[in-house]
């Protein structure tokens, strides 16, 4: 019996391979987008863990100096006072002639907590002796080892996958030399096992601040919002995909009502039938899930290089551009596919359970929904919308931002059918000819069947408008900001004091404006931050992008009476003009201005360079801007600078390069959002296609009378196309305001939470037009196939409708 039932149920798919394909495709696509995002997140997370694991140092509390700088003597003094601490010296250095700077991390193996060295040291026959002596040994990714092959003056580089990309892990003695910071210590790691009866820290090191360790690394914390963003997109794509699955499964159940009734009449128990149906769904979901994981892997592999570049550019997080296969996200993807299919099938299975044994097997209009049901759904939408709008009012944070987005999108989607129905009624009331009236009425009648697909389209369109507006607004603001802020023609970083002096001499000799800059890392309002020192130069006064300014802001900053802070810090700490910011023991300044500082995840403050120098005598300017005054070209100036000072060419970048780099970082940041956007739109297109295709088969009884009244098949097909375009256009009209609301939520809520900056909103009607075109195209393409089939349906089929009243 079971076997016969199974074969009866499955024969449906044999007879309708298109439907099977739709179901599999929908679920596979949903799974693919979801698992692509998961794969990218997993890869990034794995590399953060590697970074945290190879050094493992974030886990431990650390001691930093209140005045920013520690020396080897401080380490020794603490050890001799009975505190088990270990020194870390880290910084960025340009090694050799070429390429971007690398991060150098120096540790003292003998005092470091256990587990900080890569296994390679033990595995590759390396001896501690090699690591401690000169030239020493260091660990880096194979790529970096390759890059520095043959570069003189470096320690012996050993490849280790455990070291994060872009980093060189070495002995502190070697790091001193590479960073040219002899005798310095960035911070001290506090080991977990402290000796019995030690003196309190306040007694032995009064000038130090103990910062608690974190389970996740600094990078993981900073990038959390970025990954949450991606996950949200993954969910959106998955949701859109589920619309397809829901539609396909619902249809399959409706079409098998007859089979199910027969099976029940033959004595099959409902429970067993439900199990069979569930098993069928699980098998289909498994197949689709596997397909989706494969697809997802391909998508992730294609997107990962851009994501890696984003993370590197925006957060300094090192993520490899190559995807490794991790069974965890694959299994998660599969689970999502199964769960999604079950959710989509729930309604259908529920209906089978409740179906009376002798219920009529007459196929009803599938998913016939009354106006009342539409109203109920719309009411749900309003509720969701209200909920989404309320949450950010009562709660803070990124999650609240996403709740707002979810409420907006889902609420709007649920309200869509009612809105469309009302629009169509309105159109119907204004139609002059019977055919037009039939067209409006028929369109309305199809609405229930198409509503899921149209809701998917609305989601995709609204997300597209929203994200497009956000990215566009950001790009406009960002390029304007870059133009303002990058005022110098050349940017040079000096490797040491001698180079710094050479740069100053060169600038004086050439009569160039010199903008030296020094910075020191120190905690700002309790979180890692930087304090920058700038000189008083008209270029800054004219160009520095201040969002808020007190009167005579620059005069006060340059005379050491005030400080400027970046927007991130101001928003995070709720600081306003005139508030006081503590910069160290006994040093606090009022805030005279807030500047925008896109791309920097940390808090930053600016004081006059000489004020910084007084507080931190050991911090010397190492980065210089050269202002030519207009006539000299960057290239020529650069060539002369290189020739006269002997600075490594990698240490000099000109304005155009900086802009190019910044913009490319920017573009890459949103490359993934753009890609997911397009893919989501594609999924929505497929949803419409499948909905139309399945409706087409059922619509014959409705079309036959019109045909019988003299409309040609071709005319009917044209009407079908027109209908699809009309619905797409109406949906777009509904999606546009939703999209703008989404954009506002992204700019004013999500961005502020995720990145710490608020952006002005710009609108881009041209891209809306393009999107409308795209939506119409998708609808047209989706309707083309069913319409063509209608146009070619043999008249006999139409006749059968009358001959064979079902």
């Amino acid at each position: 019996m079971t076997r016969a039932a199974l074969s009866a149920l499955l024969s449906h798919w044999r007879r309708r391979p298109g439907q099977l394909f739709t179901l599999l495709l929908g679920l596979a696509l949903a799974t693919a987008l979801w698992s692509a995002v998961q794969a990218i997140n997993a890869e990034a997370r794995a590399s953060y863990d590697r970074a945290a694991g190879s050094l493992g140092l974030q886990r431990y509390d650390r001691l930093v100096a209140a005045n920013g700088v520690l020396a080897t003597e401080d380490f020794v003094a603490l050890r001799r006072a009975g505190w088990r601490v270990s020194p870390v010296l880290e910084g960025r250095a340009i090694l050799g002639e070429a390429g971007p700077p690398v991060s150098v991390v120096g540790i003292d193996v003998l005092s470091a907590p256990p587990g900080v060295l890569p296994t390679a040291l033990a595995a590759e026959g390396g001896d501690l002796t090699d690591f401690l002596g000169e030239p020493g040994a260091a660990f880096a990714t194979p790529e970096l080892v390759q890059r520095f092959q043959g570069v003189a003056g470096l320690p012996e580089l050993r490849a280790s996958a455990a070291v994060p990309p872009g980093q060189i892990l070495t002995d502190i003695g070697v790091a001193e030399r590479l960073l040219d910071r002899a005798g310095e210590v960035s911070h001290l790691v506090v080991l977990p096992d402290q000796p019995f009866g030690q003196a309190p820290l306040a007694e032995v090191a009064p000038g130090m601040i103990r910062e608690p360790g974190t389970e996740e690394g600094e990078v993981a914390r900073l990038t959390r919002s970025f990954h949450l963003n991606l996950t949200a997109f993954g969910f959106l794509s998955f949701g859109v995909g589920l619309f397809i699955v829901h539609g396909a499964i619902g249809l399959a159940f409706e079409q098998r009502r007859g089979t199910i009734r027969t099976l029940r009449a033959l004595g099959m128990r409902t429970g067993r039938l439900v199990w069979l149906l569930l098993a069928e769904i699980l098998v289909l979901a498994l197949a689709a899930g596997l397909l989706g994981i494969g697809l997802g892997y391909a998508i992730a592999a294609a997107l990962l290089p851009d994501v890696a570049a984003t993370l590197r550019g925006l957060y300094g997080a090192a993520v490899p551009g190559v995807l490794s296969f991790d069974p965890v996200w694959a299994l998660a993807g599969l689970a999502m596919a199964l769960a999604g299919a079950l959710v989509a099938a729930f309604q259908a299975v529920f209906r089978v359970v409740r179906m009376p044994l002798l219920a009529s097997a007459r196929p009803r209009a599938w998913a016939l929904v009354s106006t009342r049901a539409l109203r109920g759904q719309a009411a749900g939408g309003v509720l969701l919308l209200a909920l989404g709008l309320t949450i950010p009012v009562i709660a803070d944070g990124l999650i609240a931002g996403f709740a707002l987005l979810t409420g907006l999108l889902l609420g709007a989607a649920l309200m869509l059918p009612l809105v469309l129905s009302m629009l169509l009624t309105w159109g119907s009331a204004r139609s002059r000819t019977p055919l037009a009236e039939w067209f409006w009425a028929d369109t309305r009648q199809q609405l229930p069947g198409l509503s899921l697909a149209l809701m998917a389209l609305l989601l995709a369109l609204a997300a597209n408008v929203g994200v497009g507006t956000m990215v566009g607004s950001f790009r406009l603001t960002f390029t304007g900001w870059l133009d303002q802020r990058l005022a110098a023609d050349l940017y040079v970083s000096a490797a040491d004091e001698a180079e710094a002096a050479a740069i100053v001499r060169f600038a004086e000799g050439e009569g160039l404006g010199l903008l030296p800059r020094a910075s020191v890392d120190l905690p700002l309002a309790g979180a890692p931050g930087t304090l920058e020192g700038l000189v008083d130069h008209p270029v800054y006064r004219a160009n520095w992008p201040l969002l808020l300014r007190a009167s005579q802001a620059w005069d006060r900053v340059m005379s050491g009476q005030a400080v400027l802070i970046n927007e991130q810090l101001a928003l995070r700490e709720g600081l306003a003009l005139g508030d006081t910011l503590a910069l160290g023991p006994g040093w606090a300044l009022p805030i005279a201005g807030v500047y925008s500082d896109y791309g920097n995840p940390q808090g930053q403050a600016i004081v006059a360079l000489d004020v910084l120098g007084q507080r931190f005598p050991e911090v010397r300017p190492r980065s210089f801007g050269l202002v030519s005054g207009g006539e000299a070209e960057g290239d020529r100036l650069r060539a002369r600078l290189l020739a006269e000072t002997g600075i490594a060419s990698g240490a000099v970048i000109d304005l155009a390069q900086v802009k190019e780099i910044s913009l490319s970082v920017f573009e890459r940041t949103f490359a993934i959002t753009g890609a997911l956007n397009v893919l989501t739109l594609g999924v929505a297109g497929i949803a419409i296609l499948t909905a139309l295709a399945t409706l087409a088969a059922m619509r014959l009884p409705q079309l036959a009378p019109i045909w019988a009244l003299g409309q040609t098949r071709r005319a009917l097909a044209r009407l079908e196309l027109l209908r699809s375009l009309l619905l797409a256009a109406l949906t777009f009209a509904a999606a546009l305001p939703v999209g703008l609301a989404v954009a506002w939520a992204l700019l004013a809520v999500v961005n502020v939470e995720a990145f710490g900056w608020r952006l002005p909103m710009h609108v881009f009607p041209a891209s809306w037009a393009a999107l409308l075109g795209l939506a119409l195209l998708a609808a047209l393409v989706a309707a083309l196939f069913p319409a063509r089939r209608l146009g070619r349906t043999p008249p006999a089929e139409f006749l059968k409708v009358f001959a064979n009243e079902r």
Partner: protein, 371 residues
């Protein structure tokens, strides 16, 4: 899971330890001998000069300041402490002497142990030379690593006193600390031939002297408990450059305070390829030493205990017939396991037999595999 860094440390320590026990190859004519790697070699007939030789000898590969003390608490419990500072040179000295800063070739290692009945605690420290985290200076004498120290007492002693006659020692681990002051009641004792101690039939040797006559008083700090103790201490100083021979698995070493006032030092180097090599020094109550070469001392395990997954002898018979010494040594606490990067057994023993007394036993090279 074996942590890689521990593995490396273990390797380092193994190198240090093997270098330690060990005895130089035939050498030593003009006193300028160096081994193949460029380290200095001990020379017979070189008179040790104090206080200079209390200080480090960075041209040698390995060196230690090794203090043990048998203690009695106020309420009559017996126990002991160990305080050791190892120095190892990872590379021979350059022409300019020890390198400064992080690039120093000198590595330091501290071990501290505390044993009471039913309890054994230990601590371990690593440090690099060159930055001041660990080291030894001669005047005034101080050997230190982190907050641990063994240093000359501030009390001013008259001429004729050695810098090590009055010292104080401190160490602390995660669950213990001790502060003891030590006063020597006898002279320094040269081991072997005037401080030239031969370690193998092939003639490998080290420079080796001891101060076995310490009276000890001080406190032990345990969580929630401060214990006043008194007792006897023994300081060993030794430096050399040669690693153990391939076939040498480890050693058993004892320092004995006999109730008669006599002292005895003895060790046995176990050799897979042949009989163990033994050596002993008998020290009369006035400090007169009598060195004994291979074969004079018989050290025989009587009973083993399962400690840290291996069978370790915790009862021994020690016979030095020439001095009429025939005693059994029983571990006060069989679990005196030093679970340090290179693990070994080190703890106080009780002496019974021809003589009564107390002493310290150290056993290395008992591997879990060898069981």
């Amino acid at each position: 899971m074996i942590r890689p860094s521990r593995l490396s440390r273990r390797r380092l320590l193994a190198a240090m330890a093997s270098a330690a026990a060990s005895p130089a190859l035939p050498q030593g004519f003009a006193g300028l001998g160096t081994d193949a790697d460029g380290f200095a070699l001990p020379e017979r007939g070189r008179r040790l000069v104090f206080p200079k030789d209390h200080g480090p000898h960075p041209a040698f590969r390995i060196e230690w300041w090794y203090l043990t003390a048998n203690l009695t608490t106020e309420d009559g419990r017996e126990g002991g402490i160990q305080w050791t500072l190892f120095r190892a040179a990872l590379a021979p000295l350059g022409p300019d002497g020890p390198a400064a800063g992080w690039h120093s070739e000198q590595v330091w290692l501290g071990h501290a142990g505390l044993t009471l009945p039913g309890r054994h605690s230990y601590g371990e420290r690593f440090a690099r030379g060159g930055v001041g985290q660990a080291g030894v200076v001669v005047a005034p004498f101080e050997a230190w690593i982190d907050e641990w120290h063994l240093r000359q007492h501030a009390e001013v002693l008259g001429a004729g006193h050695d810098a090590l006659d009055r010292v104080e020692v401190r160490a602390a681990g995660p669950a213990f600390a001790y502060d003891l002051s030590l006063r020597a009641e006898g002279p320094l004792v040269m081991q072997g031939d005037e401080g030239y101690s031969v370690k193998s039939p092939a003639g490998q040797a080290s420079h080796y002297y001891s101060q076995p006559f310490y009276r000890v008083a001080g406190t032990l700090d345990l969580p929630g408990e401060r214990i006043t103790v008194t007792g006897q201490g023994w300081l060993d100083r030794e430096w050399s450059s040669q690693p153990l021979a391939e076939t040498q698995d480890g050693w058993d070493w004892v320092s004995l305070h006999l109730d008669s006032g006599e002292k005895m030092m003895g060790f046995r180097l176990r050799d897979r390829a042949g009989p163990p090599f033994t050596s002993a020094t008998h020290i009369a109550p006035d400090g007169d030493e009598t060195p004994y070469s291979d074969g004079a001392l018989a050290l025989t395990p009587l009973e083993t205990a399962r400690v840290a997954g291996r069978d370790v002898p915790v009862r021994w018979r020690a016979v030095l017939s020439d001095q009429g010494i025939d005693v059994t040594l029983s571990a006060l606490e069989p679990e005196s396991w030093m679970g340090t990067a290179t693990p070994y057994w080190e703890g106080p023993v009780r002496i019974e037999g021809s003589h009564g007394g107390r002493g310290y036993l150290e056993m290395t090279g008992y591997t879990a595999e060898a069981g």
